[in-house]
Amino acid sequence: MSQQTLTLSENTTTETPLRVESLRKEFGGITAVADTSFAVEKGSLTGLIGPNGAGKSTTFNCITGVYTPTAGRVYFDDTDITTDSPHEIAQQGLVRTFQIARELSEMTVMENMMLSPKHQQGESLLRSVLPGLREAVIKQEEKNRERVWEMLEFFEIDHLAGEYAGNLSGGQAKLLEMARALMTDPEVVLLDEPLAGVNPTLEQKLLDRIHTLCDEGYTFLLVEHDMNIIMNHCERIIVMHQGQVLADGDADAIRENERVIDAYLGDPV
């Protein structure tokens, strides 16, 4: 994947581009997330783990604007995004993937990917129609198309470029999900079980690439159930249980944490 495919804005200087403070989300009588706080460091690959029902997806949804938290705040690059809508948050550079891949099934893989790049001139009604302006749109589309091909090649799904996304296998759809998210040139990426159904070689290749991006300043928050991946790749791990942060530290600290072991009820950690 060429260096030009992703470019990180030079304006970000905060140490923790993503911060969650005292987050709380209630649905009727149920508290899905209660007083959760953590900060994700810039350029890190941070893991977010916990048993089912721990509140990980709800936390993701609160961060990305799908839910409005009942209480607490979410900060992105020190800006309060707690009440921002999903599209505003994505435009600012925080993007997420979905646990169950949401590919746009009646659109091709290429179309799915071409959605992602930011600042597309052709997204204006006038510019896509008027002569002269449309020429500029065509040029930009050609550039984006090149970048999309590169990304597809890296994810090894370029041979599916013309396929309807609905025809992809489960693993392929997850790859599209991640490729599409990265194509938006984000600053912080929330990945929800992105590697389910992906073959080990490709999995390693993707993790290597994520590490390289981290070195370049991109930040990843990764939800995964595969403990090997979490323990071997995440420099920091946040453990959630019943809506709260149970533990927060590096792999060794988490491995030896009694409460974490209890929470997982003896799962090999």
């Binding site: 990305t64 799908v66 809508s85 999903p86 599209h87 505003e88 994505a90 435009q91 993007v95 997420r96 979905f98 949401r102 746009l104 099934s105 009646e106 659109m107 091709t108 290429m110 179309e111 071409m114 959605l115 992602s116 930011k118 597309q120 001139q121 052709g122 997204e123 204006s124 009604l125 896509s128 129609v129 008027l130 002569p131 002269g132 302006l133 449309r134 749109v137 065509i138 589309e141 050609e142 198309r145 090149e146 091909w149 590169e150 090649e153 470029a161 013309g162 309807y164 599409r180 998210a181 938006t184």
Partner: protein, 430 residues
């Protein structure tokens, strides 16, 4: 953008636009279907014993019908085929466009329905703007509604509009010192867009001689001027077709499709889906308003009966036949529905009933005169057929003729691929 469009730019634009259309099979498909329909009409006309003038008039009527439908189906395709907005209030928006244009262009002395007497082009613009605003007002609250609720709201709105038009209280009213009116149940009269045919014949050099030549062949003046209007209407549809094809083949169109597929995903990728929905809803409605005026309102008179909900459903059926999501499909569906399901049966019923006095009711018909009864009452049976067709389409062919076609929403060919060095290396090493 710099001041005036240079002649060169205009020429380039036209050539590019035509190129976009002629490039594929699409224009050939449209022409082919139209030719088939023409042949059928000619055959039927000959069977019915029509003179040349009559046959030409039939072809003219069919084309006008098809063009009108084409325009409206294209607009509905923008709403539903591309963006997934289930708008069953089409008839209402057509009514707004027609009535506003009518009131704006109708002279203050006209009865019923006095107006402002503005020049027609300005009135048309006014009608489109009014319909666009109506669309915005409808879409704004409906942004967060589920699809079937939007359907109910739009049909309720369409009925409110129709009832308001019919109501006597709005038949005449004063606004800022001027008397305006909808005419209530009596309808509204205004300068007919169809009359432009006559204006062209009189003013454009050479037209008058052409008209005389046509009359000599059997095509008398009303048919001739009607033909001119037909060409203008077809040209308008062609212009909108190319504009809409451009919209569809662009990032804007891509976002619309994404909204239809999964609005949350579109949002999570940074697209402000509400703005897109509002824009396309307003644009589509403006087009519906224009279509209402140019097609249903072409004779210079409409009333509330011109805009009943049935029209909306027919346009939907035409869209489903052609394939929701495809612009060419919209045109094809419009042609098929209007001519084959509407015009032809009506034609048959009017000209081939033969029998002296068909039975007045089904009860009487049971005693042996069923066929004449069916032919004279083909109207209701036609709708039964349309209903059954709709069920069949949804069950077996929900994609219609062209809905399954991969029409990439992009301004460039997405299949084109740069020869990257890594691929060349890969090929060398394998």
């Amino acid at each position: 953008m710099s001041g005036k469009l240079s002649e060169k730019t205009v020429r380039e634009t036209v050539i590019t636009a035509i190129g976009e259309m002629v490039g594929d099979n699409d224009l050939r498909m449209i022409a082919g279907l139209l030719a088939g329909v023409y042949l059928l009409c000619i055959a039927l006309g000959l069977l019915a014993g029509f003179p040349i003038g009559g046959i030409v008039n039939t072809l003219r009527a069919v084309t006008v019908f098809a063009a009108g439908y084409g325009m409206l189906v294209l607009a509905l395709n923008l709403h539903w085929g591309y963006t997934g907005l289930f708008n069953i209030g089409v008839a209402g928006f057509m009514a707004i466009g027609t009535y506003v244009t009518a009131i704006l262009s109708s002279p203050p002395t006209m009865m019923p329905g006095p107006g402002l007497g503005l020049p027609v082009p300005i009135a048309i613009l006014g009608g489109m703007v009014a319909t666009a605003i109506a669309g915005l007002l409808t879409a704004l609250p409906a942004l967060k509604m589920r699809a079937d609720y939007l359907a109910i709201v739009t049909v309720a709105l369409s009925e409110i509009i129709r009832l308001s038009i019919k109501s006597q209280s709005l038949a005449e009213f004063t606004l800022a010192g001027r008397t305006l009116g909808t005419g209530g149940g009596r309808g509204i009269r205004y300068p007919a867009p169809g009359s432009i045919g006559g204006a062209v014949t009189e003013t454009v050099p050479g037209m008058a001689t052409l008209a005389e030549a046509a009359a000599a062949v059997g095509i008398n003046t009303p048919v001739f001027t009607g033909l001119i209007y037909m060409f203008i209407l077809v040209a308008t549809v062609a212009i909108f077709y190319s504009i809409i094809v451009r919209i569809g083949s662009s990032p804007f169109g891509r976002v619309l499709k994404a909204i239809r597929e999964d609005e949350l995903v579109a949002s999570s990728l940074g697209k402000n889906t509400s703005i897109y929905k509002l824009k396309i809803f307003a644009f589509g409605c403006a087009l519906m308003g224009l279509g209402g005026y140019l097609w249903l309102g072409r004779s210079g008179f409409v009333n509330d009966l011109s805009f009943r909900p049935n029209i909306t459903f027919f346009i939907f059926i035409a869209l489903i036949i052609g394939g929701a999501g495809s612009n060419t499909g919209s045109i094809l569906g419009g042609i098929m529905f209007s001519s084959l399901l509407f015009y032809v049966p009506q034609f048959v019923s009017q000209n081939f009933s033969g029998n002296a006095s068909p039975p007045g009711s089904f009860a009487a018909a049971i005693d042996g005169a069923i066929v004449p009864y069916i032919i004279t009452n083909i109207g209701p049976l036609r709708f039964v057929g349309i209903g059954v067709l709709l069920i069949y389409l949804i069950q077996r062919r929900p994609d219609g003729i062209l809905g399954h076609r991969k029409e990439d929403a992009a301004a460039v060919n997405l299949g084109e691929r740069p020869q990257s060095q890594s691929r060349v290396n890969k090929e060398k090493s394998s």
